[in-house]
């Protein structure tokens, strides 16, 4: 049925294309406008960075007009609400570092062992089951981990170690570590699987066990990627908010006792912004100074991770 009519239309198609070409001025304009529009979209991400840096910087400068920068970075006392407020950031930095260290003590060894298992020992079938399951762990919202730390892990720790306070840095530290396991496992596994098999065969062919092959050949070859995964894990721990806010309380102690409540930089931001800190007060500006410190910390970590994985990448 179609053959005949198509044949008749064949001449028309050419004519139609010609006709359309004349109306191509609209098409031509579109071709010019679209790239500009897309460029503007792309600029949004730069504007976001600029927005973050400018807001943080402007208000931080305002803060340092009121509180000397030296007092801020060396002060061990943080009493924003007292009659004579003191704004030493060290308690917050201390809390942040301690919670991150606890998290990495959990996530580092377990993450790398899981990476070794998945990359060196597991059969394809086992890996195909375990890996997505492990990644589920990374998809759980942090607020859920916060709930878990506060209502399950803390009571569990307290039943074993009664000296631990109801809000403490240990429990959220551990739970943050669990949250970071998939990240370290996954990135380290990527680094290890990218080590070519021929190198493994070289070691196994000399009579090495898998364990010796892993630790003396594969891990040294994948070291840059593994280190980068650790650094990113630390960065993640530093920036994590809800778990520590819920489970570690808001005590601004400058202490190294992990059974006590401590506040991290992130938790301070939540406390101050959620409270009634009036815009323009010194407490309000301290929010930005702490956020700026936090931002610089994580930025440095992320840059370090990228530097490590670029600089020391093995060429096979």
């Amino acid at each position: 049925m179609a053959a005949n009519s198509e044949f008749n239309h064949a001449a028309d198609v050419k004519g139609m294309i010609q006709k359309n070409k004349q109306s191509k001025s609209i098409q031509g304009k579109l071709e010019k406008v679209i790239p500009i529009l897309l460029f503007l979209f792309a600029i949004i991400s730069i504007l976001t960075t600029v927005g973050i840096v400018v807001t943080l910087l402007a208000e931080t400068i305002e803060f340092f007009k009121r509180v000397p920068i030296w007092d801020f970075f060396t002060g061990t006392v943080l009493k924003p609400l007292s009659q004579n407020p003191q704004f030493g950031v060290l308690p917050l930095i201390n809390g942040t570092i301690i919670s991150s260290i606890i998290a990495m003590l959990v996530a580092g060894p377990i993450g790398i062992m899981a990476a070794i298992y998945l990359s060196e020992y597991a059969s394809d079938r086992v890996r195909r089951v375990l890996k997505p399951l492990l990644e589920l762990l990374a998809g759980i919202p942090t607020i859920v981990y916060g709930f878990f730390a506060f209502t399950f892990v803390t009571p569990l720790i307290r039943s074993i170690w009664p000296g631990v306070e109801a809000t403490n840095i240990l429990s959220p530290g551990i739970v943050m570590g669990i949250m970071i396991i998939p990240m370290i496992a996954s990135l380290s596994e990527d680094a290890m699987t990218s080590v070519p098999n021929s190198i493994r065969e070289g070691a196994l062919g000399l009579g090495a066990t898998k364990l010796e092959t892993t630790f003396k050949v594969v891990i040294p070859a994948a070291l840059s990627g593994i280190i980068a995964s650790f650094v990113l894990g630390i960065s993640r721990a530093i920036g994590e908010t809800m778990i520590v806010t819920i489970a570690s309380g808001s005590s601004k102690n400058f202490t190294f006792d992990i059974t006590e409540s401590m506040q991290t930089m992130t938790a301070y931001i939540v406390e101050v912004s959620g409270g009634e800190a009036a815009a323009g007060s010194t407490i309000y500006y301290s929010l930005y100074a702490v956020a700026m410190t936090l931002f610089v910390f994580t930025l440095l970590m992320n840059l370090l991770a990228r530097f490590v994985s670029r600089k020391f990448r093995e060429e096979y």
């Binding site: 065969e201 070289g202 062919g205 000399l206 009579g207 066990t209 010796e212 070859a221 093995e314 060429e315």
Partner: protein, 277 residues
Amino acid sequence: MSLATVKENVSMAKNQSNAVISTSTVNGIVFDTKDLNLWYGETHALKEINLTIHEKEVTAIIGPSGCGKSTYLKTLNRMVELVPSVRTTGVITYKGKSILDKAFKVEDLRTHVGMVFQKPNPFPKSIYDNIAYGPRIHGIRNKKILDEIVEKSLRGAYIWDEVKDRLKENAYGLSGGQQQRLCIARTLAIEPDVILMDEPTSALDPKSTLKIEDLVQELKRNYSIIIVTHNMQQAARISDRTAFFLDGEVIEFNDTDTIFTNPYDKRTEDYISGRFG
């Protein structure tokens, strides 16, 4: 050789079955393969292989690609097990001991049967650490002994003079041919009795190839060598015996001279004269 010595050798092998792999051979035979079959999943890759490998000779294995020659080679040190779903039947004995038993320790086997791979695969470490890797995992920690092993192995692979001044440099800085000789030296360092070579020159230029071939001739004095090659001239040049594989079967196994001058199987003749493959 009298029957008595054979018996003695057999009983010796039995006595030592739980301790050390014997350093002496039975009848000068290193590997004895009987009715070996191998499957990759459903693919029948080796069919009823029967072969004997003799001590301090070069045995070449030739055949078109996909004929199973590399698979057979990797069965001899059980590297083939790195592929999941591999299944074997039949028996391979190494100096009288059955190596395909699950109870047999592959690590032990591989310290006696070293391997050189198709593509040079040095570790991303220094030249020194590449050579010292094997001795170290096998328990040698003494720096002086390690130094001696490194020098001896590099000399044994005729690369000492080229690298002696840069032992601490990364092995990836060497040329492809040098890397392959380094890998041979790395194998020598664990003092194996047998060296398996899986097309060791296929990734190299003619000049480097010639160096490796000369090296194989030298090594033959102390080691039994089995070399897989797709290059028939190479097999003719360097080997004492040659096995021709086709579709997972051994078509012909004989003195190299005989195989290349007077093969008894038509298919061998066709392959050697370049009519297929």
